[in-house]
C-alpha cells in the first residue's frame, strides 16, 4: 500500500493494512492481540486469517509469553496492544522470555505518547521508548508516517530478534519522505538503523521521530522565515542508533535539537546526547515531555501544553545555536 503525501493516515492503520498484506506473503506470520484488535487495527488480519490470529483477552503478560513460544517454534509473531501495556505491563516477560533468548517477537505498540488524548495519563505511554531501548537485543523503531510504518512493519517481519514498533492513535500527515530523499540520497529506501535526512541546512540540526518529524519540518519553515537554515533528520530507528549519521550531524551543525513525543528521559534525545557525548560533543536541546505524567485533553491541546509543537522546536533551535561554542 502506498500512502499519498498530504493525506492523513494513522500509523496504526498503516500497520493493520501492512499486516494483512504480509499475511498473504508469509504463512509463518501470526498475530496476537489483547482485546484491542479494533483499536490496534489487527482486526483486518484477524478477519482474513482467523486461524493465525489469537485474541488473548485482557492478559498482556500471557500474550507476550505465547508470542515467545510461537517465535521459539518457527513462527513470526506480531503482538499488539497499547504502548503502556506493551512495555511496562509486560516488562519482565519481554526481558526474560523474549529479549534474553533473542526471540523474534515483534511488539507493535499503538496509542503511544500524548496524542492518545482524552483517555489521559493512565493510557499515555511517554516512557516506552526508554523501557524498550534498555533491553539488550531489542530493536526500537518509531515511524514518522504511514509509508514509513509500512516499511518498518515489513522490515520487522524480516529481521531476526525482538522488535519494538511504536505507533500512534490519531491520523497524522503522510510526509513526502521519498521525494525528500530523492533530492538527497537518490531515493534511498527505508533501511533499519539508518537515519533519513529530509532537509539539509547549515545552522542547526533537528533530529526527530514519530509524529514530531512533521512538527520538525514545520519548525524548519519557521526558522527559515527568520533566516535560520535548519536541517531535519528523521531518526526512525532509535536502536540500533545510526551513530555515524548522528555524529555526522553533530559535526555538520555544531548543535542539535531532538524532538519526540516521549519523556525527555531515555528516548531519542537521550540516545542522541549519549552518542554525541562520546563521539563529538555539541549542545543537544531535547524537546519532549518533561519528567511528569500527562493528562486528559485533545491531542493538539496536549502537544501545546506539554511543549511539543513546531514553535517549541523553533525556540529550542535558538537555544541550541546560542549554546554552540565558537
Amino acid at each position: 500500500m502506498n500512502y499519498e503525501p498530504g493525506t492523513k493516515v494513522a500509523t496504526r492503520d498503516a500497520y493493520g493494512e501492512t499486516l494483512a498484506e504480509l499475511g498473504r506473503e508469509m504463512p509463518e506470520l501470526v498475530v496476537l492481540d489483547a482485546d484491542l484488535s479494533s483499536s490496534t487495527k489487527t482486526a483486518a488480519f484477524a478477519k482474513q486469517f482467523p486461524e493465525r490470529f489469537f485474541n488473548m483477552g485482557i492478559a498482556e503478560a500471557n500474550m507476550i509469553g505465547h508470542a515467545a513460544g510461537l517465535a521459539a517454534s518457527g513462527k513470526v509473531p506480531f503482538a499488539s496492544t497499547f504502548a503502556v501495556f506493551a512495555t511496562g505491563r509486560v516488562y519482565d516477560q519481554l526481558r526474560t522470555s523474549v529479549c534474553y533468548p533473542a526471540l523474534g517477537v515483534k511488539v507493535a505498540a499503538t496509542h503511544a505518547g500524548l496524542t492518545v488524548g482524552e483517555d489521559g495519563a493512565s493510557h499515555q505511554a511517554n516512557e516506552d521508548i526508554a523501557l524498550a531501548r534498555a533491553l539488550p537485543n531489542m530493536t526500537v523503531v518509531v515511524p514518522a508516517d504511514a509509508n514509513e510504518t509500512r516499511d518498518a512493519v515489513r522490515a520487522a517481519a524480516k529481521r531476526r530478534g525482538p522488535f519494538y514498533l511504536r505507533l500512534g492513535r490519531p491520523a497524522v500527515p503522510v510526509l513526502a519522505i521519498a521525494q525528500a530523499m530523492a533530492g538527497g540520497e537518490a531515493g534511498a529506501p527505508f533501511e533499519l538503523g539508518r537515519l533519513r535526512v529530509l532537509r539539509e541546512g547549515t545552522d542547526v540540526g533537528i533530529m526527530a521521530c514519530g509524529y514530531m518529524v512533521h512538527e520538525a519540518l514545520k519548525a524548519a519553515e519557521l526558522l527559515a522565515a527568520g533566516g535560520v537554515s535548519a536541517g531535519v533528520i528523521d531518526v526512525h530507528t532509535i536502536k540500533p542508533l545510526d551513530k555515524e549519521g548522528v555524529t555526522a550531524a553533530a559535526r555538520r551543525y555544531g548543535c542539535l535539537v531532538t524532538a519526540e513525543e516521549h519523556s525527555v528521559i531515555g528516548g531519542l534525545g537521550s540516545a542522541v546526547a549519549e552518542t554525541v557525548g562520546e563521539s563529538y560533543p555539541v549542545p543537544v536541546i531535547r524537546v519532549g515531555v518533561a519528567d511528569r505524567f500527562g493528562e486528559s485533553g485533545t491531542p493538539d491541546a496536549l502537544l501545546k501544553a506539554y511543549g511539543l509543537t513546531a514553535e517549541h522546536i523553533r525556540d529550542a533551535a535558538g537555544r541550541a545555536m546560542a549554546a554552540r561554542k565558537g
Binding site: D35, L36, I58, E118, D119, G120, A121, S122, H123
Partner: protein
C-alpha cells in the same frame, strides 16, 4: 414514602443520565461499562459507603476502588451527587485541566480512592487498603468493582489468592458480569466461566445476583458485611449499556460517545 429500594433506583437513574450527558459532552469515553455498573454504584454511594464529602481523606472512611477504571463517568456522577464536588464539574470530563480525567486519578479528584485505568490492578490495591485497615484497627470496609473481561488479567487471581490467605473479611469484590468486553463477547474471546465457582475455589464467600435488581443488590451487600474470616465476591449479572436501548449488550458502545441526537434519545429513555 419512598422505600430504600425505590430511592436507590431513582439515584441510579440520575447516575445514568449523568453518564450519558458526560460522555456525550466530552465526545469520548466509555458509556457501556458505566451504565452496567450504575445500580451497583448507586447502592454503594447512597446507602453503604461510610464517606464524608467534607473530609475525603478521613481515615475511617469506607473505600471504593474502581478497578475497571474506564467506568470513571459513573464514579464521578456518584461523587458529584454525594457532594464531593459540584455537578457542573461533570461537564468538564476529559477536558484539558479538568479534575475529571478519562480514567480515575486519586490526586486530582476528591473522593477517588485509587488511580486506575490499567485493568487488573485495583483488587490488589484494595487488598492493601484492607490490610491497612486491619493493622490500624479501623473497621472500615473496602469495595472493588471489576469487569468480567478484566478477570482475564492474572493479577486479579493473585489478589484473590492473597486476600483469602490473609482472611480479608473487610474486602468485597463486585464483578460487573455484563458478558461483553472491548472486542466483543467475553465468551468468544477468552471465557471466564464458571465465574462464581472460580471465586469460591479461591476461598471467597460468593453471592450471585441480578446486578440491576436493587433489592438483590442491597441484600447481597448487607450479607457480605456479615461474613467473617473470608473476603466476599458478588457476581452481578448485568447488561452492558443498561438503560439505553440502542447501547444494550453491544461491544460497539464500550468506548464510544453518543452523538447529539443519540444523547437526546438516551436521555428521553432515562426520564
Amino acid at each position: 414514602m419512598p422505600t430504600l429500594t425505590t430511592d436507590l433506583q431513582q439515584k441510579a437513574k440520575v447516575l445514568r443520565r449523568h453518564v450519558v450527558r458526560m460522555v456525550g459532552e466530552a465526545g469520548s469515553g466509555h458509556p457501556g461499562g458505566s451504565l452496567s455498573a450504575a445500580d451497583l454504584v448507586a447502592a454503594l454511594y447512597f446507602h453503604f459507603l461510610n464517606v464524608d464529602p467534607a473530609r475525603p481523606g478521613w481515615p475511617e472512611r469506607d473505600r471504593f476502588v474502581l478497578s475497571k477504571g474506564h467506568a470513571a463517568p459513573v464514579l464521578y456522577a456518584a461523587l458529584a451527587e454525594r457532594g464531593f464536588f459540584p455537578s457542573e464539574t461533570l461537564w468538564t470530563l476529559r477536558k484539558l485541566g479538568s479534575i475529571l480525567q478519562g480514567h480515575p486519578d486519586m490526586r486530582k479528584t476528591p473522593g477517588v480512592e485509587a488511580s486506575t485505568g490499567s485493568l487488573g490492578q485495583g483488587l490488589s490495591v484494595a487488598g492493601g487498603m484492607a490490610l491497612a485497615g486491619r493493622l490500624s484497627t479501623l473497621d472500615y470496609r473496602v469495595y472493588a468493582l471489576l469487569g468480567d473481561g478484566e478477570m482475564q488479567e492474572g493479577q486479579v487471581w493473585e489478589a484473590a489468592m492473597s486476600a483469602a490467605q490473609f482472611k480479608l473479611d473487610n474486602l468485597t469484590a463486585i464483578i460487573d458480569f455484563n458478558g461483553v468486553q472491548l472486542d466483543g463477547l467475553v465468551e468468544n474471546i477468552v471465557g471466564v466461566e464458571p465465574v462464581a465457582d472460580k471465586w469460591r475455589a479461591f476461598g471467597w464467600d460468593v453471592q450471585e445476583i441480578n446486578g440491576h435488581d436493587m433489592d438483590q443488590i442491597v441484600k447481597a451487600l448487607e450479607a457480605a458485611r456479615q461474613v467473617r474470616g473470608r473476603p466476599q465476591a458478588i457476581v452481578a449479572h448485568t447488561v452492558k449499556g443498561k438503560g439505553v436501548s440502542f447501547m444494550e449488550g453491544l461491544a460497539a458502545w464500550h468506548g464510544k460517545a453518543p452523538s447529539r441526537e443519540q444523547m437526546a434519545q438516551a436521555l428521553a429513555e432515562l426520564e
